[in-house]
Amino acid sequence: MEEMDSELVTTLVNAGKSWLVLTIAALMPTFWALTLIFQFARPYIVRVLRGLTLRFGADVWWLSYVLIRDALMLLTFAIGTSLILPGLYISMPLPLFAPLSTLLLFWALVFKLFGEADDDPRTFRAVSLLLVAAASLYFVPLFFGVEAIDQAYLGEIPAFLVSATNPSWAWPILLLALAGYAATGSYIFWRFMRTLRKGTASVTERSTEAAA
């Protein structure tokens, strides 16, 4: 009886875990859509900004927009990263290109971190194109793979687009994405340290000048 109970609890926990992960995977298109909508709502937001009569109102409007837009991007990245943990990605039916999608989102965040995405049109375009590519890499395998497994007329396409049923593609994609994560993370660290050192050097220069 005790053995039966323990088996029941294990199965219940495992099924609960699968349900949670797959629900998050199904919610990801919502986060992606919100990320894209807020990124591409910029002309609309700027138009309203110009219509406001006081700088206070304009600042509140712009501040709220930037806060929500960037928080959504970060949230999508954080949830996307949790879905590419090898134990989940290889064993559960997740979108095949999800790791690459999250890696591209990571690069978009790097552009935002080191560039002026709101004032420099080139950086804005780079971030926008990276987001479109990343979202497409998530949407296509989700709509035509994970959520279309029962659609017989699609033939082998759904099975190809799902990580658990296509391990021969899933493993290289996962390893490539993890290597990309490591390289991007190292780049951010190096760039941050360089900026910090430059800042320290200029502070030292200024204090030497002041002392002289």
Binding site: L8, A15, L49, R50, G51, L52, T53, S64, I149, D150
Partner: protein, 208 residues
Amino acid sequence: MISLEDIPSFFEAAEIFLEGTIAAVLVVIWLLVVALHLARPYMLANLQKFTLRLGADLWWIIYLAFRDGLVVLAFVLSFMFFLPDVVGMLPLPLTGSLAAACAFAVLVLKLVTGGDADIRAFIWQTWLLGLGAVLYIVPFVFGVEAGALPGPAGEVAAFLVTTTNPSWAIPLTYVSMAIVGALGVVAVAYNLRESALPVSRANAQADT
């Protein structure tokens, strides 16, 4: 007493409950979206009464944030209508995916036209929202809800629900996905073309 064999169906039921709740909440959201768009004259009338520009600006910002935020919410919650397996498994309104496409078309119109100052664009937005609300609420009320009851609406109700009419539901899903995809391309192209104006300059213009 729950047994090992019951566990998968237990979580399937949880999924059905979650998605069914979202489908029901969408009725309320569609009603609010239409109501807030139709409330524009009332909001403008109140705007005239403010004695401080700060109050007027905040009133207008809050109205825009609620009104347009709800259109965004209606669209993102409708994403389940683009998932063929969900459409085939759950009794959802047949034209829910087209309603989602209408919400997205309104968002794109808001983006590429002159905003609230452009009355013609606003009229188009209101028509599209009205159409979207009808496309969602009518099959929900007369199909999903009435279909669950014994009564005269049997065949009509069966036609209006995705699970009992998959030969219409799946093609409509793909048509709506194509519409949303095409509109998405328009939105991206417009953004890439319009990204030349730096925000700091636009912000400065707000004060002039």
